[in-house]
Amino acid sequence: MSPRTLLSARGLVVDRGARKVLRDVDFSLYEGEVVGLLGVNGSGKSTLLESLAGLHPMSGGSVLRNDRGFETTVRDSEGQRGDISGFGLCLQTEGMSGDETVFERIRGACRVAGRADNSEALNEIISEWGLGHRANDRICKLSGGLRRRVAVLSALVPVALNSEQSVVLLDEPSEGLDQASRGLLLGWLRALKMRGHGILVATHDPEVITACDRTVTISETSELTSKIQESNLEHANLPGPSAAESHRELVAWNWRLERRNPIDTIGRGVPALVALLLAFTLSTDIVRSSENYDLLAALILTPAFITAIVTPAIIKRLAEERAGDWWRAMTGTSSRGWFSIMGVSLILPLPIIYLSWFVIADDSGSAMNSDVMLWLWLFAFVIIDLSVAASALHLMVSDLTRAGAVAGILLQLVLIWPFLQMTSALTSIMSNGMSFELALGEPIADIAIAWLTVVLLWAMAVIIPED
């Protein structure tokens, strides 16, 4: 009986600008084998490996995964996308945020792959790899070699805990590892093979090549040459498989990092407070005593609006060492939607909007002050939604290779419309009190339209880039 194909590429064509990096590549990874992907620099090894993980758009062909006897599409040139959950991935750059601890990272990798995390077993593995004393250290505090160990373990452990045959994709895993760690890596590769998993390793390292059952050499013209070989290396002892579990690890990951290093809250709060002070300066007695509340309403809403459109910290977290690519590969097609929701300014809009009201307009003399007080939360709610849309727009910009080199704020301009709609609604409440009449120009209708516009913006910014 021939071994089952776990992952395959058919007629794969991947371009980088006008240059074809991969041309009509066919490749299969079978159960119970370690495959070494070889080739000179620039031949497309990393591109092939990352394409198999579904990370690159392709001009031709498809990547397919065998899932319990059924072939499912990971990605194809027609724009179809599918999830490739439960696998292990180690990119050439680490794909980790520096604010995670070693233990959190490996536990997170297990959880996102749908494996239950047994702390005792994980601690044993971490110690075996010489990281026990570093388990609670942040990754940014580790040396390059130690970081590499964590990145490699993040790819190997989830698959080791998986009772079903799965796939591990490793890009230059031995780069920066010391001799002892290489020994461990090779032992683990052999042990994973014994359990029937398929492992693809892009490498230049002759030592890693000795652990392979087959080598595939990719030429500059994308021709693959396959060669079977024997490996007599010893296999390591792996932990037993753990139960399958479903976690919302992505959200937990971001929340954990925000608690540890609240750059999102501070990054949004400081501009909002500066805007509040400016708004207070601008809201002179003349403005406050005026019967035309347009300007006053805009000044009240501006600080909260600013908290919403500031670049969310998740963009920076995902950009660090290609952490975003790792999460995208692991979480599949739903990642963009989740990223945008995680980028939301959840805490600040409500207090900021009430603070603005007290500082700027509480003594404005409007007869409707109590109505405004009663309904300001509704504006905060829409602004929270608006920050989800803003986050999705920031994510679109962050897809660019040099996202820091573009003026993403030009896209945020579209959010001015819901903001103006809310200004109009607040002006109405300040002038005439709250009305629940569902007619155009009435506050509740204005707020509803602002909210719907924001939802539409978010949906389009999430759906269009995902084909």
């Binding site: 290779t401 040099r402 573009v406 419309w417 819901p418």
Partner: protein
Amino acid sequence: MNGEKMNFRDSGYALTYLGLAGVVFVTILSLEYAPGLKPCTGGGCWGAPEAYRILYLHVPFAWCSFLSFCVLFYGSLMWYLKRSEDAWVYFQSGSDLGVIFGLGVITSGPIWASAEWGRPWDWGDMRLNSFALLTAVALFLVYSRQSQPDTQQNRDTLSAVGLFGFALVPITAGATTWWETTHPEVLIVESSETVGMSPDVRSFLLISFGVMCILFTGLLILSNKRYRLAAEVSGRKNELDQEAIS
């Protein structure tokens, strides 16, 4: 083949120069010879009837910028569907022309609005804001194209922004502001008696639009030609890179 290329390029230059000369001619014509408006008619009074002359440039600019955004949309959509180099050429030309003509609209418009409305901008106006936002999207695309490596992933992202901008702006504009517009109605179609526009004004506008279209076509041909050549040069450079490796 070379002869064809030369003709193609020459027609681009010829139309561009003709269009530029035409725009200068129309500007002089509109300032000096175009008929004035009736200050008041049954439809209401103009605040600054003489300032309307800038509309001979503003309105054709607006129509041509809309054509540019259509080219951008076509390029984005075709890139998404076919990922062909030709689609990308249209995408690039559409975004460039969108910035040129869009800036024409949003600079000439406020000059007229200051005189007519007493304020340069109306945040509640759909068309005004639509063009400003579409121009912002086009500007974003131009800057991004220049600053990013030319990879398929970046092209995908930028064409997504192109589609996003084109599809989103009219929808959100319609959703939020369609009932509160101070912008004049569509001048050519609903002209004459209601807003004090004579058939002569309509003819002038049509002439200026025709001239602007010639300029638009010339620029589009030149731009497409330029980007096709750029793709060819890039391909040649890649071939040289490959030879350097081997």
